[in-house]
């Protein structure tokens, strides 16, 4: 009796798990891509990045709470969080480009201010955000909410756009030029200050987008930034600092492992998460350049 039941149940569960994993990986890859720009390309260790994801989710909550369509939240969050990133770059980060470890400390201070500020305004209770699309369709032998597919789709298209942006458009190439050789870029007439600001704001906006699209799948609270911060950094480092393809690989690996460990250890969720971190630690130790990136770490 048991084997028959298993054979019926397992494909269903696997299909569901794959969808759950793909959805969480999609949001992680978006947040991590923001960090690939800020940490990987610009070299800024922004410990407020996880808080930016949280702020994206809260933007969605606020707009929905004010009675507007959740779609407006998804459109607004990247701009709101991008603007906050812009303010952070202008006020703090630009003074610390030569002092990476101090950037790390200062942005951690910013993360605390934002987190405690959100607690002051919204309290410590969990908020729920409703998805803009209802309904589900049959897929992979299971009922999949349409919104999950929307998350996967938006993440895939935004990632494609980001890669194309930095590869083919003038703005993207200018940003890379400034990061590569500031003096030379400046001599060629590029406004390096403006370029830094926009690049940083763009990376922050991606974190905001990740937060707002995944918000309906999570309980939103002020403390959620930490796990996003840790996972985004790991995805970037594991994949290979500074390449978008590496970040996607890192995100898929970490998100996939997380879901596998969780299904193997259903009663020990925290241990499952810890195991993912240990795997990441071992990869960082033995492949310091990441899984994808060529060249040495300086």
């Amino acid at each position: 009796m048991v084997p028959i039941e298993l054979s019926m149940l397992v494909p269903l569960q696997v299909g569901q798990r794959v969808l759950v994993a793909a959805t969480s990986i999609s949001a992680l890859v978006l947040a991590a891509a923001g960090l690939t720009i800020i940490f990987g390309l610009m070299g800024v260790i922004n410990l407020a990045h996880g808080t930016f994801v949280m702020l994206g989710a809260y933007t969605g909550f606020m707009i929905q709470n004010a009675g507007f369509s959740p779609w407006l939240g998804i459109i607004a969050a990247p701009f709101v969080v991008g603007a906050i990133g812009l303010v952070l770059e202008i006020s703090l980060v630009k003074r610390l480009y030569e002092r990476p470890l101090d950037t790390l400390l200062a942005t951690w201070g910013v993360a605390i201010i934002l987190r405690e500020g959100v607690k002051l305004v919204f309290g410590t209770s969990q908020k729920s955000v409703s998805a803009p699309i209802e309904g589900s369709i049959s897929l992979l032998g299971t009922q999949a909410p349409v919104y999950w597919l929307f998350i996967i789709g938006i993440s895939a298209s935004v990632m494609t756009a980001v890669i194309l942006l930095f590869k083919y458009t003038d703005v993207g190439i200018m940003a890379l030029a400034v990061i590569e050789n500031r003096e030379m870029a400046s001599a060629l007439g590029i406004d390096t200050t403006l370029s830094d600001r926009l690049t940083f704001a763009f990376g922050s906006a991606l974190a905001g987008l990740a937060g707002v699209i995944i918000a309906p799948r999570l309980s939103v609270n002020a403390e959620m930034g930490l796990s996003w911060l840790a996972n985004s950094f790991l995805a970037v480092i594991v994949g290979g600092v500074g390449t978008f393809v590496g970040t996607i690989a890192g995100g898929v690996l970490l998100g996939g492992l997380d879901n596998i460990f969780r299904s193997v250890l259903p009663d020990l969720t925290a241990v499952a998460q810890a195991l993912v971190l240990v795997v990441a630690l071992v990869i960082i130790r033995y492949r310091p350049n990441g899984l994808i990136a060529p060249g040495g770490r300086e």
């Binding site: 470890l101 200062a106 607690k119 130790r285």
Partner: protein, 348 residues
């Protein structure tokens, strides 16, 4: 040195005078406060030991560790388990031998794992951060063995040859341990080995070129620092009689880094000052301001990172100099500031 000569030395050095004043304050605390407040201050002192341990690794060697609470918590949990379940082992052996040895071994293993691959800079910060998160989740998940999220409670207070140590004597024991470890750290950073550590902070390749084994030096200071954190954790368990997973975690680790940054990194005394002062303000002001206290502290922290990397100690020294206290020449002050790690070169 005669008493008069000592007095003259104190008068000439505002820093020494400040340290003695601080010690005097800590000595009279039990005389003014109620017994429960004295226990709280004992806890402050154990965290000050943790701050001292982190300052050796971060302030002097330039390795920003965001996971040192893992060692503090491991010491606390080990002491708690031993004191509750193995009463045959004398308490002082548990707190002052087993806890530091256990944490030294942990630190040695983690340190070897990271330093042998030359993990440094932001990578070191992020990997140590992960270590703390892993330790905290493991402690939170093992309900039957480590008490899960509820932690371990009813941990017995320290007993020596069957005689329990009361709150106030325990405070002085903790103060003595803090003072002893402070003097030990002072001796280390003033030694040739301490110069090698500062060399690693300023320029690791150059230091290696001068013939120092930088991997061994980093491993040694990290292990020593882990042992110090272990003693602090063990004492915490006996003073607080309760341990829980956040003691191992990332939040405590980063909090202590903030205390050190505000007190003044790379000065030892700044770590102790920052740890005690901020914990005291935390307990007195957080009732008044609740959440906004954390915001205020974060703003102060950012300000020190941005414009005053020498922290409160640096501010006080500048103030003393401006008031014309002390007879050290400007050159001597500059030299001692450099020796104390106040030079600008570490913030590259």
């Amino acid at each position: 040195m005669s008493a008069a000569a000592k007095l003259a030395r104190v008068r000439k050095s505002p820093r020494l005078a400040g340290k003695l004043a601080g010690l005097a304050v800590l000595l009279v605390v039990p005389l003014i406060l109620s017994s429960s407040d004295v226990a709280t201050w004992s806890v402050y002192l154990t965290f000050a030991i943790l701050a001292l341990a982190i300052d050796l690794v971060w302030g002097y060697t330039g390795l920003l560790t965001l996971g040192h609470a893992a060692f503090f918590g491991a010491g606390a949990y080990l002491a708690a388990k031993m004191l509750i379940e193995v009463p045959a082992v004398p308490d002082p052996v548990v707190v002052f031998v087993l806890a530091p040895v256990f944490c030294a071994v942990l630190a040695l293993a983690i340190g070897w794992f990271l330093f042998s691959a030359n993990v440094s800079g932001p990578y070191f910060a992020i990997t140590t951060l992960i270590v703390a998160i892993v330790f905290e989740s493991i402690a939170g998940e093992f309900v039957s063995f480590l008490g899960g999220f509820n932690g371990l409670y009813n941990i017995p207070s320290l007993e020596v040859v069957g005689i329990g140590i009361e709150t106030i004597p325990m405070y002085y024991v903790t103060l003595a341990v803090l003072l002893g470890l402070f003097l030990l750290s002072r001796w280390i950073v003033d030694s040739a080995f301490g110069r090698a550590l500062r060399g690693i902070r300023q320029d690791m390749e150059r230091t290696a070129m001068f013939g120092y084994n930088t991997e061994w030096a980093r491993l040694f200071v990290f292990t020593l620092s882990g042992a110090m954190a272990g003693i602090a954790g063990g004492m915490y368990a006996t003073i607080n009689n309760f341990v829980s997973p956040p003691l191992l975690g990332f939040v405590l680790s980063t909090q202590v880094v903030i205390w050190i940054a505000v007190g003044g990194r790379g000065t030892l005394v700044g770590a102790v000052l920052g740890a005690i002062l901020i914990q005291y303000l935390n307990s007195t002001l957080s009732d008044l301001f609740v959440n906004s206290w954390n915001i205020l502290l974060a703003v102060v922290f950012i300000a020190f990172v941005l414009i005053g990397p020498r922290g409160l100690v640096g501010l006080l020294e500048d103030l003393a100099e401006r008031l014309g206290l002390g007879e050290e020449s400007t050159a001597a002050v500059a030299a001692s500031a450099d020796a104390e790690g106040g030079g600008g070169d570490q913030y590259e």
